[in-house]
């Protein structure tokens, strides 16, 4: 897949749109109606094929996230760090992996939201340093599973802006996620299990392909403001972990 002038124009338009949307949403987010904090542990899995040779890495990472909700807007920031190893072991050197993920959701309906996302992911090992910068937009749907305490969600994100430091960058990426959230009755805690997958498309000349997956388990606590008072509640409505 080659990068066309049309694709470049779309990418530029997308960057401008995200910047404007973020600038407009920040004042609303400052008057936050709810804030949430969550800790997460995840199993990342990175697969790449370069010149016909496929390498796979998996491991464990952990991190923290914060979220702000104001009306129909919600903003999240997650930071994670861990280590991945090649499968089979020894195929690639042990690699440190870290990610910073910023996301924004605008709820069009209780079950539907549009989202914007920026993520920076870095991999560092004896073999070198690799950094991915991604920006994208998409949609997220959610549904209760018989009770509001348990809900499931799925999201699809188009990543037109993907940059790879010192390497040939993908022309675009597509991300998806599916998961479930449990908010036990009377508890301020919420448990979220989410599977996330990202697939990147490179130009034909790059002879390269990449895919990144994570299975995350997060525990979060949410405080919302009601009649001027802050009250602890489950972070059911908070954005899922990364």
């Amino acid at each position: 897949m080659s990068a066309s002038p049309l694709h470049a124009a779309c990418a530029k338009l997308f960057r401008v749109t995200v910047f404007v949307a973020t600038a407009l949403s920040v004042p609303a987010a400052l008057a936050a109606q709810a804030v949430s904090v969550q800790a997460l542990v995840a199993v990342p899995n990175s697969s790449a094929r370069v010149s016909g040779m496929t390498t796979r890495m998996d491991g464990v990472w952990a991190g923290l996230g914060v979220g702000i909700e104001a009306g129909r807007f919600s903003l999240t920031a997650n930071g994670t760090r861990g280590q991945v190893n090649g499968t089979p072991p020894g195929a690639v050197p042990a690699t440190s992996l870290g990610e910073l993920d910023l996301g924004g959701l605008f709820h069009l309906a209780p079950w539907l939201a549009v989202r914007a996302r920026y993520a920076a992911r870095a991999l560092s090992s004896a073999a070198g340093y690799e950094r991915w910068d991604m920006m994208g937009a998409g949609a997220r749907v959610a549904r209760d599973l018989g009770t509001p305490a348990v809900s499931t969600f799925a999201a699809l994100t188009y990543l037109p802006v993907v940059r790879l430091k010192n390497e040939t960058a993908p022309t675009f990426g597509v991300g998806g996620e599916a998961g479930a959230t449990v908010t036990p009755a009377g508890s301020p805690l919420a448990l979220t299990l989410v599977y996330r997958i990202e697939r990147f498309h490179f130009s034909d000349a790059a002879t390269r392909a990449a895919q990144f997956e994570t299975l995350s388990l997060a525990i979060g606590v949410r405080a919302h403001r009601q009649r001027g008072r802050w009250t602890l509640s489950g972070s059911k409505d908070a954005s899922p972990p990364r």
Partner: protein
């Protein structure tokens, strides 16, 4: 001639003439602590104003009064005991529709990862983690959406029990009102300097 007026301080000040006396030096006036339409004064702040007529500066006096009810024992309201109620529905197994809906949600949760997964890269046609999510969604959905059959007999029984509880509490509330109304009251007087 001395005119005695009752001043109700709360909720808004207003005066009402209660007695007019011809006084040489000392006189006794009886002011009934009762409302014109019957019943004792409600608790609160009052004042008795005495004015010498024709009035001149400094020819009036004021006595502040506070009417208080003495505490009395009232009958406690009956608490609603959930144990007396019977279940109004009977939970059953999942219906065919519930099972299909749960499986459908699982398939939808699986669809996103499967659509994006590159089998040649990940080595799996369906990522194992995606199976875990889809399975969790299906099982949870089926388990939480179990069918329930209404039990009209128990609904009627609960309704009768609820009405009986409300009636008993209404009787207690009426008796408490009477007890409070009959409670002795205390009058405290403070003379204005």
């Amino acid at each position: 001639m001395v005119r005695l007026s009752l001043r109700l301080v709360q909720p808004r000040p207003r005066d009402s003439l209660v007695a007019t006396l011809l006084v040489d030096s000392i006189a006794t006036a009886r002011v009934p602590a009762a409302l014109s339409q019957g019943g004792a004064w409600p608790t609160g702040e009052y004042a008795i104003i005495g004015e010498v007529a024709p009035s001149e500066p400094g020819s009036s006096d004021l006595l502040q009064l506070r009417v208080e009810r003495l505490p009395v024992d009232t009958i406690p309201q009956k608490a609603l005991r959930p144990a007396i109620f019977r279940p109004e529905t009977l939970s059953g197994g999942p219906t065919r529709r519930t099972i299909l809906e749960g499986l459908g949600l699982g398939v939808l949760a699986l669809a996103v990862p499967v659509a994006l997964n590159d089998r040649s890269l990940s080595g799996h046609s369906v990522p194992p983690a995606a199976w875990a999510i889809a399975g969790s969604v299906s099982v949870t959905s089926i388990a939480l959406r179990r069918s329930s059959t209404p039990l009209p007999e128990n609904v009627r029984y609960n309704e009768v029990a609820r009405i009986q509880w409300q009636t008993e509490n209404r009787v207690i509330a009426a008796r408490n009102t009477a007890i409070l109304r009959a409670a002795p009251f205390r009058l405290r007087a403070t003379r204005e300097p």
